[in-house]
Symmetry: C2
Subunit: 393 residues, 2 copies
């Protein structure tokens, strides 16, 4: 006989890593509301409102804007497998883990993949892509707006023009970007874009907001082969998220409640205010880290406000700082991934987590721990620098 496990008592955490970020208390409350059926009239209205709010956040009129019933990586897979048929050419921009993941996903979908690479922490210019577009003549180009592994903030608009001039469609990874920086799906002419709930939406992981424009949708509806994934087949999902409401799979009701509430929070605050808050807290954190002698690992001018990838100072014990932050203060920051492993910390200021209290606390805590490790800096300067940014804002 199997014994029941102990009661579930998660320790209080302040999530300042690469995501999941802190869930807003109102979102936690929404999660716990009573489950209804996936064809309940109330639920269908909830989906409508959710889609409307999601279109507002993506700044798009795209009819096919909805939430994939899985996490952000499934959003990536949904975008790729719906647009790619075996043998199609796809160019993927790789400057971190998530571009690399898209190469893998595209290859599994049968794409002939051309990688364009930039060093970790840097972004792409149109010139970086031009040769690959000419050589590969891709059907689809994939690029990451906010590279969670490096903190790089990729400008999209010019690259989108170039991609469309080359006759290709543009897929954008906005997992970490959405809700923290402007994402202009229609103005930038993005054909398919996906995100995740657990970054700047103050919501637990579990859903992948996604949007396809008409060009992408037409491409999907005119495929010669079936989409390789039944679960992610947009031509079928369109019948559930569209007016027909044809049953496809059982929607994750309570996670939908959470995303609904998260979107309410963002629109109550206002998008511009929300982006400005992310930027202000980033500037304060950056000023404070600088006073601690900590530099960014990301190209200047392209540093994401919600994901601060910074170099671990020489002589400082990476694992010890992170575990002490967690155990003494309940603060989670992220380790480096891949090429940045052991060299970089990733400090997230995402959604509800992007607030003054978190900035000041993490700086004060880092000051304590770095002093314990003999790292040299002017005591008190860090919090003072952050407060200086807030004072002049």
């Amino acid at each position: 006989m199997t014994q029941a496990a102990p009661e579930l008592n998660p320790p209080p955490r302040i999530l300042m890593g690469p995501g999941p970020s802190d869930t807003h208390p109102r979102v936690l409350e929404a999660l716990a509301k009573g489950t209804v059926g996936h064809l309940d009239p109330f639920y269908l209205r909830t989906m409508d409102e959710l889609q409307r709010m999601l279109r507002g956040l993506f700044r798009t009129e795209n009819r096919m804007t909805f939430a994939v019933s899985a996490t952000g990586s499934a959003g990536m897979e949904a975008a790729v497998v719906n647009l790619i048929e075996p043998g199609d050419s796809m160019v993927v921009c790789v400057n971190g883990v998530f571009g690399g993941r898209m190469v893998d996903v595209a290859g599994r979908a049968g794409a002939r993949v051309t990688k364009v690479e930039r060093p970790w922490g840097e972004v792409f210019t149109p010139d970086d892509l031009r040769p690959a577009l000419e050589a590969a003549k891709p059907k689809v180009v994939g690029i990451v707006l906010a590279e969670t592994s490096t903190g790089a903030w990729q400008p999209i608009e010019e690259i989108s023009r170039l991609v469309h001039d080359a006759g290709a469609m543009l897929v954008v990874d906005a997992v970490t970007g959405l809700g923290g920086v402007p994402v202009e799906v229609d103005a930038w002419n993005i054909d398919a874009i996906y995100s995740g709930t657990q970054k700047c939406l103050s919501c637990p992981p579990g859903l992948a907001p996604i949007s396809f424009n008409q060009r992408a949708l037409d491409t999907i509806l005119n495929r010669k082969t079936k989409v390789q994934s039944w679960y992610l087949d947009v031509s079928m999902l369109a019948n559930y998220w569209g007016q027909e409401r044809v049953y496809h799979h059982t929607a994750p009701i309570n996670m939908t409640y959470a995303l609904y509430e998260a979107l309410r929070l963002i629109h109550e605050e206002g998008l511009e205010q929300c982006f400005a808050r992310h930027m202000l807290n980033h500037r304060a954190l950056k000023a404070g880290l600088s006073a601690l002698g900590i530099e960014y690992a990301t190209q200047e001018g392209h540093q994401l406000p919600m994901l601060n990838a910074v170099k671990i100072p020489p002589g400082v014990d990476d694992a010890k700082v992170r575990s002490t932050l967690l155990n003494r203060f309940g603060i989670e920051i992220g380790a480096g991934l891949g090429a940045f492993k052991g060299k970089v910390w990733r400090i997230g200021l995402m959604g509800y987590g992007s607030r003054q209290a978190n900035v000041l606390l993490v700086l004060a805590a880092l000051e304590q721990l770095l002093a314990e490790q003999g790292h040299a800096f002017t005591r008190g300067a860090s919090v003072a620098a952050a407060n200086g940014v807030y004072a002049s804002s």
Copy 2:
């Protein structure tokens, strides 16, 4: 500017359809606990305990027993796409919607699919499969333990022997079965099995419990081609759910809390007691429905306790009864799907929803509505019949 939607106020519902079923209040509470990181030591311990409790429920020692980060249909896709490589032969048993879905999923994975069919509402005998096994020499055979569209309860043990004698592996769909009827993964020699959280686990939809035995895992690790889905690739998921804890995708933290609590509830009650409760409430419902002149659409002797597919009496307005049940009593029952559309109701008694109060209420409510529609039956006999079953239990 996008306006925030109205406050989220789900109407109280009693979910007696084909799922989602009523979420247990303790599971709703667990959902709302504070999010932690997906590599937090607490979360890793939670995963360990969840896996242990899931093995207990599946009655298996399979190391690779975990939860797919998506709903039950993604569990089906995970089982199929990991075991099938393009060109492999697969036999699928189809006696309802979900067998049909497996055919579609297998075809998209590149399988040469052989369908074996039985009429809706019936189950398969080993004799039904024998010719297909001889002709198709399949690598994998797929079958549904609990066909949610028809209420048919498929015996597995003998068929499993036959499948293995033919050198194939057996994949079992236990989406609706798990937690409501015995599922003996090791004793029945099932190679891969999947379920969903929203049926007999008293948990919202969003995760797919799944288990692969060593034979299945070896097959996956020795594939010639990559699994077509990155998100569902078990060889990568094994490194996150195994001892290595290598990051793959960001786990749906709060849904994991919900499943953890749901599994605690089942093991606190005890599996045998839980199955006996499902059976008793089914017998009471069946006695009550019989007194209303309502017959089962499923083969006698193979009726699932948690999903009662019954024939709509002649002259009764299907849609009106269902919408009045919902609007007057807050009770959701399910419509027929596919071949059963307009002909069958599906009354779920799943997990927390399988309780005396629900049985008596739905019978009393149906008595009121059927009387309004002029259907003839002995007043009061239905509830009395159900209470008779409880009295003699």
